[in-house]
């Protein structure tokens, strides 16, 4: 199991390095259309071939990896943070605070997030840049994706609150702030970490699903989602197997994210 974790970690480090250095590694501008070279097979100029508009697939894959991976990580970080704050407050204070936080969590769990996303897209200013709309898409994913994690964190905090160490600390006169940040939060690290690693692949896959529906990251920006949309014509695959590259990247990264953390941390 340790070996698999090491391999998973290596894949993730590599993917992160690739996404950070996408601009340096890409042989071409990912938006440039080489119209006389449309739909070409892999070659020295275009190592993963070109798409229907003659754009270099490798450059788009590198850019797509950057957007999908970094934005999903950012969204997972925000969602875990939000879930942490709400779970911590609700679990520690209990009573009406807990009830109110529970109601808000339930509300977010029942939100039809797809419709929220559609509405958001329509409400965007008309000339929103692709970068801003990409950020907003992932921000929305984070803003609706924190709720399940908040429940898990709240349950952990509620358990911790009644544990012996916290009761002793309270008996010694520690205030709420001290208890929350010095005694409870450090104990939540494994739970928060597990929630982060659970949310990140979930956001990557959600973006991919949106991309297949044509509602993900706006073209000409590349993401795994909008590159995967090509695979809807699955009869192309035997003739052009290189179009599977984004799918393989997605499987490798999402798979690695599942293995990077010891299972016991996930189940905690």
């Amino acid at each position: 199991m340790k070996l698999i974790r090491v391999i998973a970690l290596c894949i993730l480090v590599l993917a992160t390095a690739v996404s950070v250095g996408a601009d340096l590694l890409a042989p071409h501008d990912y938006t440039e259309q080489f119209r006389l070279h449309a739909n070409e097979a892999p070659s020295r100029s275009f190592p993963l071939g070109t798409d229907e508009l003659g754009r270099d697939r490798l450059s788009r894959l590198l850019q797509g990896t950057r957007i999908s991976l970094l934005c999903a990580a950012g969204a997972a970080f925000l969602a875990t943070g939000a879930a942490g704050v709400i779970g911590l407050v609700a679990g520690y204070f209990g009573g009406w605070v807990d009830e109110m936080a529970g109601a808000i969590t339930d509300l977010f769990l029942s939100l039809p997030w797809l419709f929220a996303l559609l509405t958001l897209r329509v409400l965007f200013p008309l000339n929103t840049s692709t970068g801003v709309s990409t950020g907003a898409t992932f921000l929305l994913l984070a803003s609706v994706g924190w709720a399940p994690s908040a429940r898990v964190i709240r349950a952990s905090v509620a358990n911790l609150r009644n544990s012996g160490s916290i009761v002793y600390a309270r008996a010694y006169g520690c205030g709420n702030t001290h208890l929350l940040f010095i005694h409870i939060l450090p104990n939540l690290k494994p739970v928060l970490s597990a929630q982060f690693w659970i949310l990140m692949p979930a956001f990557i896959l959600t973006e991919a699903n949106l991309g297949v529906l044509g509602l993900g990251i706006n073209e000409p920006a590349a993401s795994w989602g909008n590159m995967l949309a090509e695979l809807q014509n699955y009869q192309r695959i035997p003739e052009q197997p290189w179009i599977l590259a984004p799918a393989l990247s997605l499987i490798l990264v999402v798979g690695s994210l599942q293995f990077v953390l010891p299972r016991r941390n996930i189940w905690q």
Binding site: V122, L126, E219
Partner: protein, 541 residues
């Protein structure tokens, strides 16, 4: 009146040979179940398809000759400057349940269609072309239809009006068309069987149709549909995507057929509505003829055809394609891609290009958003081509695909958009049915809908020409008026026509007598003459 080509007779002869086979069942795919079997309420593709296959009509529009032909009406006469049509009905015709057909059925169908509150798309079509309609029987075999406004070429609309019985029965239980409903298995298939009382006979006197049944199988996925076609389980595929068609064409026995340009047009337009929530300086660009012309010539239509449609489309110059033999204006041709000319036109209009960014007189960088419906691969790719073409003349185009309902709301209600790419889908060849788009008062007048009075002189001229063709009784006068409208639109470019996609189909070698047409329904418009060679199908299987 009846026009039968030599090919048609040849096809009949082949069909006769095929007839007599007990298993003659035509199979093809639909992508959802029908919403209604009431022909007057049909609004979506599958219900309209069933209406076509089961409904008997007074006049049938021949998709090859593009001329109306007699069906339940043996003849008709237009009089009173196009405000009246008298039909003489065919005798000895019976509904599929064996009851006789008479003028009372036509009158009842017309009255039901025009009844207030009847949500009928065909009624809307009649109303928009001819105002209010009154129908009277002239004895058992004559019907007169009176229109409140003169309308030429209106007999074509009767191609879509399936006659139902006057007595109170479910519309699908008694039909006059070649097929009748046998079974509707929700989510799986719709089975139509041969109407034993269908009136039409072949040239040799044999009762039509040749087929015993039609199985419309619900297949949700286009790729699965193609796969099943290749396995010989379906007899044809309509509207094949260019990419799939290209794959299919590699197999010379696949039956892939390019029927040439369709009646549909992909186009781009700018929002010129005066009260639209768009900055005033942008409205000035959009209202400038030179700006629109520059965008038009900067657009590389040949690349859209080659890359987006894999060569299976034609650059468009107007809203009428070559497929429409009667109304196509050969004087209008698509503008050639010319970046220098685009820059020259923009310069004439006061724009400045510094090599990177185009700026207007006020120093504003030229940037606009282009909306379209999300999920359309061809429109997304078209948007990307436009983006790169315009970038070369310093214009930044922000491409924004949005969900379809939101798109409709933006272009019809809120006017919160700057430019849009969509298509104009035509089922009718007579441009009269598109008047809602071209009249300045029309609610579908894309760039500036529902104007109280024409905003520009050229829109007023289009209105005048549209009115002129509406009351013109001679076909040549109507054609002249429509040619002028097409030429004004080409000159003013309120709509930048991009391409006419081709009609791409695939037909099994087992299907006989098919005479594919670029006009819908492309493959089964002569359904009563189609037959299946089960021996051929067996070989395929």
């Amino acid at each position: 009146m009846a026009i039968m080509t030599r090919n048609f007779l040849l096809a009949l002869a082949i069909g006769i040979c095929a007839h007599g086979d007990p298993t003659m069942e035509l199979r093809f795919a639909i992508h959802a179940g029908p919403k209604t079997f009431d022909p007057l309420l049909a609004t979506e593709e599958v219900s309209e398809m069933i209406r076509y296959l089961t409904g008997g009509v007074l006049v049938r529009f021949n998709r090859q000759t593009q001329q109306p032909e007699p069906e339940l009406a043996t003849s008709w006469k237009v009089s009173d400057q196009g405000k009246r049509i008298d039909f003489v009905l065919r005798r000895n015709v019976t509904f599929s349940d064996g009851t006789p057909f008479s003028a009372a059925d036509v009158v009842a169908t017309m009255r039901r269609m025009m009844a207030p509150g009847m949500p009928s798309a065909i009624a809307d079509l009649f109303r928009s072309a001819a105002g209010e309609i009154r129908t009277e029987a002239n004895g058992p075999n004559g019907v007169s239809v009176f229109f409140s406004t003169p309308a030429t070429g209106l007999e074509r609309l009767f191609d879509q009006l399936a006659i139902s019985p006057a007595r109170r029965v479910a519309p699908e239980s008694a039909v006059l068309g070649p097929f009748m409903l046998q079974e509707d298995k929700s989510g799986q298939y719709v089975l139509l069987k041969r109407n034993p009382h269908y009136w039409k006979t072949s040239a040799t006197g044999e009762r039509l149709p040749y087929l015993n049944s039609i199985r419309l199988e619900i297949v949700g996925n286009r790729e699965t549909e193609l796969l099943r076609f290749r396995r010989g389980e379906l007899d044809f595929v309509d509207k094949v995507e260019p990419e799939a068609f290209e794959r299919l064409s590699k197999d010379q026995h696949s039956g892939a057929l390019d029927l040439g340009p369709s009646l549909d047009t992909e186009f781009l337009w700018f929002n010129q509505k005066t009260n639209a929530p768009v900055p005033d300086y942008k409205k000035k660009w959009f209202q400038s003829r030179l700006f629109r012309q520059a965008i038009s010539v900067a657009t590389n239509r040949d690349d859209i055809v080659r890359l987006v449609y894999r060569g299976y489309a034609h650059p468009a110059a107007g809203f009428i394609s070559r497929a429409n033999k009667l109304w196509f204006d050969s004087k209008v041709s698509p503008p050639a891609h010319d970046r220098q000319l685009a820059l020259k036109l923009l310069q004439e209009d006061g724009f400045r290009f510094d090599g990177r960014t185009l700026r207007d007189r006020g120093g504003n960088a030229v940037e606009f958003s282009l909306i379209t419906n999300a999920g359309s691969k061809t429109r997304t790719e078209t948007g990307m081509i436009l983006q790169q073409d315009l970038m070369k003349i310093g214009i930044r185009l922000n491409f924004l695909p949005i969900e379809f309902q939101s798109l409709v709301e933006a272009i019809t209600q809120t006017a919160r958009y700057e430019a849009c790419v969509l298509s104009l889908t035509n089922f009718e060849i007579d441009p009269n049915t598109q008047m809602n788009v071209w009249l300045s008062s029309g609610t579908h007048h894309a760039w500036n809908p529902a104007q109280a009075k024409p905003a520009t002189a050229w829109e007023a001229e289009i209105d005048r020409l549209a009115a002129l063709q509406h009351i013109a009784t001679s076909a040549s006068a109507r054609k002249r008026a429509f040619d002028s409208i097409q030429e004004i639109l080409a000159e003013q470019a309120p709509i930048i026509f991009l391409v006419h996609p081709d009609v791409l189909v695939a037909i099994s070698p087992a299907l006989r007598n098919a005479m594919p047409s670029p006009l819908a329904p492309h493959l089964y418009w002569n359904i009563e003459y189609l037959s299946i060679s089960d021996a051929e199908r067996g070989r395929k299987n």
